[in-house]
C-alpha cells in the first residue's frame, strides 16, 4: 500500500497561501493573547487553591456557592469539570484569597463548608461517620469501636475490621470513583452485621475530594519564570545543535518554524480559554523537539540532494526534497497523531490540556516543516542573490556520521 506515488507537488509555488494561513492563525492567536482571553494560566503559575470535588448526583452550584459563602470564603469560582455525567466541579480560590499566612486554610474551609452546609440533611447527620470521606484508619477505628460482630478488642477483631474497611474503600475508590451511590451497594461487600452498623451510624455525604492543588503566589511566579527559561533554552539548544550539524541558516529556519508552532499552539490555548499548566509547557517543549524532527528530515534530504545535483535551481530541489519525504512526513505525523488522539480521547481529564497541546502541535509542526522552514531557506538564498552575493545555499558540511 502506498499513500503517495511519486508526488510532484509545487510546494514553493504555494508559499503565499502558506504565508496567509500562518499569518491568520498566528495573528488571531496574538490578538486573543493581547486583547481577548490573554493567556489563561493554571494554578501552577498563577497561585491559588483548586479543590476538585466529585458529587454522587448532579451538583447544585448554587448550594455549593452558598455553603462556601457561609464559611466565609471570598468569592470562590465554581466550575463544572469534565463530562456532565461525572458530576465533578472545581472550586477555585484566587491567589490573593489563598492567604499567605495560612495557605492551607482554603482547602480545609472548602471541605468543612461542604460537609456542614452542602447537604440539606447535614444537621441530622452530625456525629455520624461520613463513608464518602472516611479514611481507612478512621473507618477501621470506627468499626472497632462499634464492634458490630461482637469480637471484643482482639487481634482477630482488628484484622477483621481492617479487611471490612478495605473492602468498602476498594469499592468506593475503585469502581465508584470516590462516592458510594447508596449504602445498599455495600450488600455483599461487607458482612450483614457491619452493613447494619453502617445503616445506623454512618451516612453518605454525597461528595468526595478527588484532588487538591495549592500554590503560593511566590512559587507560581518562580515556576512561571522556570517555564519561560526552559522554553528559551530548548529553542536555543536546537539552534546550536542544528548550527553544528548543518549551517547557521538551517538552524535559524528550523527555530523560526518551531517558534511559529509554539505561538500558534499557545494562541490556540488562549482562543479556547484553556489554562496553561506545567504539563502543557512539557507538551510544548516536546512539540519543539517533534517539529524539529520533521524539519530535520526535510533538511537532511535537501542537504543530500544539494551534494548530488549542484546545478538544479534551489526551488526545484527543495520541492523535490519535500516530495521525496512526503510519504514519511504524512505517515509518521499521522501515526503520532493517532496515539496522541487516543490520549486526548481516552487519557482522562487530568491530561486533557496536555494532549490538546500535542494534538494541535503535531498538526502545526508537520505543516510548518513543509510550509515555513523550507521556504525560508529559499527566501534566504533569493535575498542573498538579490544582493549579488552569489547563490550558494551552503551545500552543507558532509554529514559526519
Amino acid at each position: 500500500m502506498e499513500l503517495f506515488h511519486n508526488p510532484r507537488i509545487d510546494w514553493l509555488g504555494k508559499k503565499w497561501y502558506f504565508l496567509a494561513f500562518s499569518l491568520i492563525f498566528s495573528i488571531s492567536g496574538l490578538i486573543s493573547l493581547f486583547f481577548w482571553h490573554h493567556l489563561p494560566l493554571d494554578v501552577d503559575f498563577r497561585g491559588g487553591t483548586v479543590v476538585r470535588v466529585k458529587f454522587a448526583e448532579k451538583p447544585n452550584v448554587d448550594h455549593i456557592r452558598s455553603a462556601a459563602n457561609k464559611a466565609g470564603l471570598k468569592d470562590p469560582r465554581i466550575t463544572a469539570f469534565g463530562p456532565a455525567d461525572h458530576h465533578e466541579v472545581l472550586i477555585t480560590l484566587s491567589g490573593e484569597a489563598t492567604n499567605q499566612a495560612a495557605i492551607d486554610q482554603g482547602r480545609a474551609t472548602i471541605i468543612r463548608a461542604l460537609t456542614q452546609n452542602y447537604s440539606p440533611e447535614a444537621a441530622q447527620n452530625q456525629g455520624k461517620l461520613d463513608l464518602d470521606n472516611a479514611t481507612s484508619e478512621a473507618l477501621t477505628n470506627w468499626l472497632e469501636q462499634q464492634d458490630p460482630e461482637h469480637l471484643g478488642a482482639t487481634v482477630a477483631a482488628e484484622t477483621k475490621y481492617q479487611a471490612q474497611a478495605d473492602a468498602v474503600l476498594h469499592l468506593r475508590d475503585g469502581e465508584d470513583s470516590g462516592v458510594i451511590p447508596s449504602l445498599v451497594d455495600l450488600r455483599g461487600v461487607v458482612d450483614p452485621a457491619v452493613l447494619s452498623a453502617f445503616q445506623q451510624g454512618s451516612y453518605l455525604s454525597g461528595f468526595s475530594v478527588r484532588s487538591v492543588e495549592i500554590v503560593g503566589a511566590e512559587v507560581g511566579t518562580q515556576l512561571q519564570h522556570q517555564a519561560e527559561l526552559a522554553t528559551l533554552y530548548s529553542l536555543g539548544g536546537m539552534l546550536v545543535y542544528l548550527w553544528f550539524r548543518f549551517e547557521f541558516i538551517y538552524g535559524v529556519a528550523a527555530v523560526v518554524a518551531c517558534f511559529h508552532d509554539t505561538l500558534i499552539t499557545v494562541g490556540a490555548f488562549s482562543l479556547r480559554n484553556m489554562e496553561v499548566s506545567l504539563t502543557v509547557i512539557a507538551a510544548i517543549l516536546t512539540l519543539i523537539g517533534y517539529s524539529m524532527n520533521d524539519t530535520i528530515v526535510v533538511f537532511d534530504r535537501i542537504r543530500e540532494n544539494l551534494r548530488l545535483s549542484r546545478r538544479e535551481p534551489l526551488p526545484d530541489l527543495v520541492n523535490r526534497s519535500i516530495n521525496q519525504t512526503l510519504s514519511r512526513t504524512v505517515l509518521t505525523s499521522g501515526l503520532t497523531f493517532l496515539t496522541v488522539l487516543s490520549l486526548y480521547k481516552l487519557g482522562g481529564q487530568v491530561l486533557h490540556p496536555f494532549s490538546f497541546a500535542l494534538v494541535v502541535g503535531i498538526l502545526i509542526g508537520t505543516y510548518s516543516s513543509i510550509a515555513v522552514a523550507a521556504p525560508m531557506l529559499v527566501a534566504w538564498q533569493e535575498w542573498r542573490a538579490g544582493r549579488g552575493r552569489g547563490a550558494a545555499l551552503p551545500a552543507a558540511k558532509k554529514a559526519k556520521v
Binding site: 495557605i103 512559587v219 493517532l338 496515539t339 496522541v340 481516552l346
Partner: protein
C-alpha cells in the same frame, strides 16, 4: 553471515529477557494479582497515580537566626550585670535584620570594659563595630549565619521525618528542595487525612514557660492601652487558647516575660493522660535536669505568682505557682481530644522545630482519582499502540511485522529501564510512553520509505535494505538528539510529574535507537537470508 546473525539474535533475546525481568522481577505466581503486584514492586508509581500528598515547605530560617541573637542578647545582658556595667540597653532595632544587635547607652567609664568583653566573648560569632555615643553594633558573621540556617534546615528535616514516621506513613520522602532556598519537599504516598498530617508537620511544637507580668485582658487593644500603648522591651503579649486557666474562657491576652524560664529543647519526655480532677485529656511533660533546676529556682522564688505555659506562641496553661516545681508540668487547655493530646505529646517528644514552616505548595491526589488515572492511561496506551501496530501491518505488510516487533521490544525495554532504575512513573510519564510509541515508529517509517525508494530505483532487495538503513541513520540520529535535548531540559527544569514525562520520553527514545535500527535490521537480515538472491521482499 549466518553465524553472525545467530549471535545477534541470541543477544537480542537475552536483552529481551533481561528487561522482562526488569518489569516483573520474579513474580510470586501467575494469577492476575500476583503479576500486578510484582510489576508494582518493580515500577514505582508517582503520587499522581497512587494517591498521596506532595508538600513544599519553606523553613523560616531567619527565625532561627533571630532566636540565636535573642539568646546572645540575654547572655550579653548577663555578662554586663556580672561585670557591673549598668545602664546599657541591648536591642534588635531592625525587624528585617534578625542577625543584628545594637548596644546603646553604655556609661563612658565602661567603654573599654565593654569593648574587651564583647571582643573576647562574642568576637568569634559577630563582627563588632563601635558607633557614635558609646554604642556598638554586632552583626552575625555571614559564615556563622549560613551555618545556623543550614543547621535549622537539617534539624527541621530530621524532626519532620521522625514525626511522619510516628504517624505510620509508608515510604515517605523528606528532603531538601531547590538547593540554597531552605525549602523542604515532603511526599507522603497514600495519605488521605490531610488536616491531621498538616498539623503534625507544621506545628513547631516550641514549648516554653514564662512569668506572667500582667493580664488577662479581653483583647489586644485593651492590653496595649493598659500598658500605656507600648509593650516593654523585655515583655511580650500572647493570647491564650480557650480553657487555658479556670477563669479564662475565650482567649484572653497576657503580658509575659520575653525570655522564657525554660524552652524549646529542654523536654525529656511527654505523654498523653487524663486530668485527675476533670478527667479531660491532657499532656504531661518532663524536663531535662538542667531545665528542671532552672524551673525549680524560678518556682521557689515566685510562689503565689502566675506562670504561663506557651506552645507555638499561644498560651495553653496559666497557673498560680503553689510551690516549687522541679521537672514536670501539664497542658490541658484548648479542649483537646485524646488523639490531639497524643499527637501533641508525640510532637513534644520528637522535639521542636528550630523555626516555623510556611506552606508554599501542596498537591494532593485522592486514591479514587489515582486509580482512574492509571486505568485511563493504560487504556489510552493500549488503544494507541494497537492502532499504530495495525496500521503498520496494513501499510507495510511483511515489514510491518518487523516494525511491530521492534515497537513491542521498545516498550519492553522502556518499562524494564523504569524497573531497574527506580525511576517514578507518573501520569504524564504514561503519556510519554504513548508518545514514544508514536515517535518510535517514525524511525521504522523513515527506513522503510527509504527502502521502498531504493527498490523503485531498481536496487536488489538486499542492497535496498542496506542502503535504506545507512541513509536513514543520519536522519534518525538527528531527530532523536533534538527530542532528547527537549526532554533533558524538561528533566532539569521540571518537577514531579513533568520530570516523570521527561524520563519515560528519553528512555523510550534511547531504546528506540536500538530497536528500530539494530533489531529491525537483524530481522530483515534473517528474513533475507531465507530468500534467494533477488527474490522480492514484502514491504
Amino acid at each position: 553471515m549466518q553465524k553472525n546473525l545467530r549471535t545477534k539474535t541470541i543477544g537480542i533475546i537475552a536483552i529481551l529477557l533481561f528487561f522482562i525481568y526488569g518489569i516483573f522481577g520474579i513474580p510470586g505466581g501467575f494469577s492476575g494479582t500476583a503479576i500486578r503486584n510484582s510489576i508494582l514492586k518493580r515500577i514505582h508509581l508517582g503520587l499522581d497515580l497512587k494517591g498521596g500528598m506532595h508538600l513544599v515547605l519553606q523553613v523560616e530560617v531567619n527565625e532561627a537566626v533571630g532566636a540565636q541573637t535573642d539568646s546572645d542578647s540575654a547572655s550579653i545582658q548577663n555578662a554586663f550585670q556580672q561585670n557591673g556595667i549598668i545602664g546599657a540597653s541591648i536591642a534588635k532595632p531592625d525587624t528585617n535584620r534578625p542577625d543584628f544587635i545594637q548596644i546603646t547607652g553604655v556609661p563612658a567609664a565602661h567603654t573599654a570594659d565593654v569593648s574587651s568583653l564583647l571582643n573576647s566573648q562574642f568576637g568569634s560569632q559577630y563582627d563588632i563595630a563601635p558607633g557614635p555615643n558609646n554604642s556598638w553594633t554586632l552583626a552575625m558573621k555571614p559564615t556563622v549565619e549560613s551555618d545556623l540556617k543550614q543547621r535549622a534546615l537539617d534539624r527541621s528535616i530530621d524532626v519532620i521525618q521522625s514525626r511522619i514516621n510516628s504517624l505510620g506513613v509508608t515510604e515517605p520522602i523528606v528532603e531538601p528542595y531547590q538547593l540554597g532556598s531552605y525549602q523542604i519537599l515532603v511526599e507522603l504516598p497514600g495519605v488521605d487525612d490531610l488536616s491531621r498530617v498538616e498539623n503534625v508537620i507544621q506545628s513547631t511544637a516550641r514549648l516554653s514557660t514564662h512569668a506572667v507580668l500582667g493580664g488577662p485582658w479581653p483583647d489586644q487593644q485593651t492590653a496595649l492601652q493598659s500598658l500605656g500603648g507600648m509593650v516593654p522591651p523585655d515583655a511580650e503579649l500572647a493570647q491564650s487558647v480557650p480553657g487555658a486557666s479556670s477563669d479564662t474562657s475565650t482567649g484572653e491576652w497576657y503580658e509575659l516575660s520575653k525570655i522564657p524560664v525554660w524552652g524549646g529543647t529542654d523536654i525529656r519526655d511527654a505523654k498523653a493522660d487524663n486530668d485527675q480532677q476533670t478527667n479531660e485529656p491532657e499532656v504531661v511533660f518532663y524536663l531535662t535536669n538542667a531545665a528542671g533546676d532552672k524551673f525549680g529556682q524560678f518556682t521557689s522564688a515566685n510562689i503565689g505568682k502566675d506562670m504561663a505555659i506557651v506552645l507555638d506562641n499561644r498560651i495553653y496553661e496559666v497557673a498560680v505557682i503553689k510551690g516549687e516545681i522541679h521537672d514536670t508540668g501539664n497542658i490541658s487547655g484548648g479542649n483537646m481530644s485524646m488523639q490531639q493530646a497524643q499527637d501533641l505529646s508525640m510532637l513534644l517528644r520528637t522535639g521542636a522545630l528550630p523555626a516555623s514552616l510556611k506552606y508554599l505548595q501542596e498537591e494532593t491526589v485522592g486514591p479514587s482519582l489515582g486509580a482512574d488515572s492509571i486505568h485511563q492511561g493504560v487504556v489510552a496506551s493500549i488503544v494507541g499502540m494497537l492502532a499504530v501496530m495495525i496500521f503498520m501491518l496494513i501499510y507495510y505488510k511483511g515489514a510491518g511485522i518487523n516494525a511491530d516487533l521492534a515497537l513491542f521490544l521498545n516498550l519492553v525495554i522502556l518499562l524494564g529501564f523504569m524497573g531497574f532504575s527506580g525511576a517514578v512513573l507518573t501520569l504524564p510519564g504514561i503519556a510519554g510512553v504513548i508518545l514514544t510509541i508514536g515517535m518510535g515508529v517514525d524511525s521504522n517509517v523513515l527506513i522503510f520509505e527509504r527502502i521502498r525508494e531504493e527498490l523503485r530505483a531498481g536496487k536488489s532487495p538486499a542492497a535496498a535494505v542496506d542502503q535504506g538503513f545507512s541513509h536513514a541513520w543520519t536522519t534518525i540520529l538527528d531527530t532523536h538528539v533534538t527530542t532528547i535535548v527537549s526532554a533533558l531540559i524538561l528533566f532539569i527544569f521540571g518537577t514531579g510529574p513533568v520530570k516523570g514525562f521527561a524520563v519515560t520520553l528519553s528512555f523510550g527514545l534511547a531504546a528506540n535507537l536500538f530497536t528500530a535500527v539494530f533489531v529491525s535490521r537483524v530481522i530483515f537480515d534473517a528474513h533475507l537470508s531465507h530468500k534467494l538472491h533477488g527474490e522480492p521482499i514484502s514491504i
